[in-house]
Amino acid sequence: MNRDRSGMQRLETTIGEVLRFGTITSSTMFAIGLVMTIVGYQPAVAQLLLATGLVILLATPPARVVVSVIEYVRERDWTFVLLTGIVLLALAGSVVAAYF
């Protein structure tokens, strides 16, 4: 139980870091890209920034799930490896539904 709790704490901290990085990066790209678009400065670069910001935004929650899978494998908690695996499979299903 003790080991379990410390693992959970570590996971929660790591998840927080992943989410913080994703939020700050995508928001910064959005802000710069938008201002550039509005003032008409380097439209191609602005579009690239906005598109990349959106992809990072969309990739952030899945990255958090991947981090969780890794932690549960380390703890050999197979129930949660299975559950987080289902989440990743469903997200993969969305990618398939989006493009095929």
């Binding site: 959970m8 704490q9 996971l11 929660e12 901290t13 998840i15 927080g16 870091e17 989410l19 913080r20 994703g22 939020t23 995508s26 928001s27 959005f30 802000a31 890209g33 938008l34 678009t37 509005i38 579009q47 906005l50 598109a51 910001g53 959106l54 935004l57 969309l58 952030t60 929650p61 899945p62 958090r64 799930v65 969780s68 949660f80 559950l83 987080t84 289902i86 989440v87 469903a90 997200l91 299903g93 969305s94 990618v95 539904a97 989006a98 493009y99």
Partner: protein, 280 residues
């Protein structure tokens, strides 16, 4: 909306402003902002519902990530419950995202109307509600949790009951999230709180974690189908983040009773408009 929609500075500012208001209202009422943002984009700006839902899902992801990053480590978020229920929400959001591509705009509008009425009822039902203080000596078990509550200066401990019901509510929430562009917390949180034994704050924090990955399942489909444009999503995302930040500071400790009643009334009007315009 097609991919060539030019983003004029006024349109960007309007979307940013709408996001700010929706984000602030969301925080004040304990809802996501999507339930306000989607009708604004559809009914006022004339976006197709799919486009509005896609933009709103992007804001849901940003809100979820920002709020969860901020809360990580304070034990309010129940990671285990979150990850169990996410298996249901993401499968639901995959199905909802596929369904959204198959059904007509008019069907989505009517569905939004129905959900807006339900949300209004939940908001009104919460007007006089307070968090229940539970016995701190309860053994939380494998899925339960324990956290420190500031108002009561005590440890709150809880067990999670009726897991199949929570899974079912999460599955429905995932479907609705993708179909209508809302987070789905409005469906999960009342169920987790009223029937599954989770204190309101823990239920809300855990739901906030889940809606990010849930909304991603839907948003990916809209993105791939060309309904999610970075140029329109960016001002909405930034607006909602500014609005949530401001809302948290403005309404801290303030009475939001009148606001709840007002917003419930607005949601009823939204529902009526969604029905009226579903035949257009």
């Amino acid at each position: 909306m097609n991919l060539l929609t030019p983003l004029t500075a006024p349109l960007a500012l309007i979307i940013f402003g709408a996001g700010t208001v929706a984000g602030a209202l969301g925080v004040a009422l304990g809802l996501g902002g999507g339930i306000f943002l989607v009708p604004f984009l559809t009914l006022v700006l004339g976006f197709p519902l799919k486009s509005a839902a896609a933009i709103s899902l992007a804001t849901v992801i940003a809100t979820s990530s920002a709020v969860t990053a901020q809360r990580a480590g304070n034990q309010l978020i129940n990671l285990r419950v979150g990850m169990v229920l996410e298996a249901a929400t993401t499968v639901g959001s995959l199905l909802g995202g596929i369904t959204a591509q198959l059904v007509a705009e008019s069907v989505l509008r009517r569905l939004f109307g129905v959900v807006a009425i339900a949300v209004a009822a939940v908001v009104l039902g919460r007007v006089n509600k307070r968090n229940v203080i539970l016995d701190p000596t309860v053994d939380p078990g494998r899925l339960g949790g324990r956290f420190y509550e500031e108002e009561s200066h005590g440890i709150v401990s809880y067990r999670v009951k009726r897991l199949p019901l929570a899974l079912f509510a999460s599955f429905i929430a995932g479907n609705v999230s993708s179909l209508l562009g809302i987070g789905g917390g409005i469906i999960k949180v009342p169920v987790l709180n009223a029937w599954c034994g989770m204190p309101l704050r823990a239920a809300a924090a855990t739901s906030a974690l889940m809606i990010g990955v849930t909304a991603t399942g839907g948003a990916i489909i809209y993105y791939g189908r060309g309904d999610l444009q970075p140029l329109l999503a960016a001002p909405a995302v930034l607006g909602v983040q500014v609005g949530s930040w401001a809302g948290a500071r403005l309404t801290y400790g303030a009475s939001v009773k009148w606001l709840k009643v007002l917003m419930a009334a607005i949601l009823v009007i939204v529902a009526v408009l969604m029905f009226l315009r579903s035949n257009a």
